[in-house]
């Protein structure tokens, strides 16, 4: 690892100021599990690390009127073991459990995961399906951005060099909503998704009609893919197996999957279909169950 200067701001404002001062040469250090690894492999060489761990107020999980809010410094493991998160968002607990290993989750943060923008990120597709938003702070003040509009390319986001994500906001789900995240890997644990599928179905519990749905894919392209055509097949319809199969097929045709060392493009497409189908079935059950 090359030497760098460590900066330790005590407030978000100070952090932004430092980032703005040092521009591209600076990077934010939160959990650091991804960043330190890349620095050790000498793939990135920041001159300044802005360690935000001193900003204690960024470490929280709290309930607001209509959303769950998670601070930028909250480690993944804390989210995974939070009874509150489990009560309101069992699917988030389940998803976080599949990331890395306990040791990584004890240190790594949810925000860090999103900002790194690894195409195989697990949180990204699920949180998009949950319509999560980011509160982003920069020198010019704060803005709130839908996570869906956050990712722009492999490892790239709309975050500018002098901005910091302060918190993630996940709106509470309406009644009749079922959400699931399925991840296809080669190993049972500690593996990256060949395809990660987040599925959400909002049902009208009276007649079983699908009011809204979201299908978001991870691991298949440079950024999470929101398959709107597939969703269109479900919206306003009563969901049954054949409708699910049709939507799954549509979703798999909506992506142009990447080919890499983990899987071919063709296999990714096939797995998209399989896991969207499975996800929809599971989400349907969850939705019906309340």
């Amino acid at each position: 690892m090359r030497r760098f200067e460590l900066l330790e701001p005590n407030s978000v404002e100070e952090a932004c100021r430092l980032l703005s001062k040092h521009g591209q040469g600076a990077r934010v250090l939160a959990g650091g599990t991804a960043l330190v690894k890349l620095m050790k492999k000498r793939l990135i060489h920041p001159s300044y690390l802005v360690n935000i761990k001193g900003i204690k107020e960024l470490h929280f999980i709290r309930e607001d009127k209509d959303a769950l809010k998670i601070g930028a410094l909250t480690p993944l493991r804390e989210i995974e073991t939070s009874p509150f998160v489990r009560d309101r968002f069992r699917v988030v607990t389940e998803m976080v459990h599949t990331i890395g290993s306990v040791q990584i989750r004890n240190v790594g943060t949810l925000t860090g995961n999103l900002c790194f923008a690894d195409p195989a990120s697990d949180p990204a597709p699920l949180l998009i399906a949950l319509e999560a938003q980011l509160k982003i702070v920069g020198p010019g003040g704060a803005r709130v951005l839908s996570l869906e509009n956050f990712f722009t390319d492999f490892y790239e986001t709309t975050l500018s060099a002098d901005e910091i994500v302060e918190e993630i906001q996940i709106p509470f789900l309406p009644k009749g909503s079922g959400v699931t995240y399925l991840k296809h890997t080669m190993r049972v644990a500690f593996d990256l998704a060949i395809v990660g599928v987040a599925v959400r179905l909002d049902l009208n519990l009276k007649d079983g009609v699908c009011k809204d749905s979201r299908i978001v894919l991870g691991g298949v392209a440079s950024t999470p893919v929101h398959t709107k055509k597939a969703e269109g097949i479900l919206k306003g319809k009563v969901i049954d197996d054949s409708r699910i199969a049709e939507a799954a097929r549509a979703a798999s045709l909506e992506v142009d999957p990447i080919h890499d060392v983990r899987a071919s493009s063709e296999y990714r497409r096939e797995m998209t279909e399989v896991f969207v189908e499975r996800g929809l079935k599971q989400a349907l059950e969850r939705a019906k169950g309340g």
Binding site: M1, E5, L6, M39, K40, N51, K53, V102
Partner: protein, 157 residues
């Protein structure tokens, strides 16, 4: 430029001078001379560098040493007291959970963090807690047995 790093290691206070780009693993092994914690892959994949920081298992190879400032660190060297093995160490020894031994300190520390937090884990809990630790020798069967034994002794109590 070196910075001061105060921390508690295996129950004792230390003040070190550390450069910001040093990982916790480097400082534990080189500055503190605690070579029981191993460098395996250096990329957070093998778990041989697992230590316990403020009660949590962490991979010390992916953490900057200065991030341990003011914290309480436990390494494998801190477990046995005056020749008295920790129950996990005893179980690993007695039950054949050790072969080449390179993964052992990390395995034991990851298990300890689990048992400290959850003294009565299920088999799945144990597997989840050790899911980030590689062993190429044992096939994990006896490691799982050893941790399960300690957990069930705890259950009997």
């Amino acid at each position: 430029m070196k910075r001061e790093l105060e921390l508690k290691v295996n129950g004792e206070d230390y003040t070190l001078e550390v450069e910001p780009h040093r990982t916790l693993l480097e400082v534990v092994r080189n500055d503190l001379g605690l070579t029981g914690t191993k460098l395996g892959c250096g990329g957070g994949e093998c778990g041989a560098c697992t230590v316990i920081l403020d009660g949590k298992a962490v991979k010390s190879c992916l953490m900057l040493a200065l991030d341990a400032k003011g914290k309480e660190l436990w390494t494998i060297e801190g477990l046995a007291k005056g020749g008295d093995l920790h129950p996990l160490q005893r179980a690993f020894v007695q039950q054949g959970a050790i072969q080449c031994g390179f993964c052992t300190p990390g395995m034991i520390m990851a298990s300890k963090a689990l048992l400290d937090e959850n003294p009565r884990p299920t088999e799945q809990d144990i597997k989840d807690a050790l899911a980030g630790n590689l062993c190429r020798c044992t096939g994990y069967v006896k490691i799982l047995d050893a941790v399960s034994t300690v957990a069930s002794e705890e259950r009997k109590r």
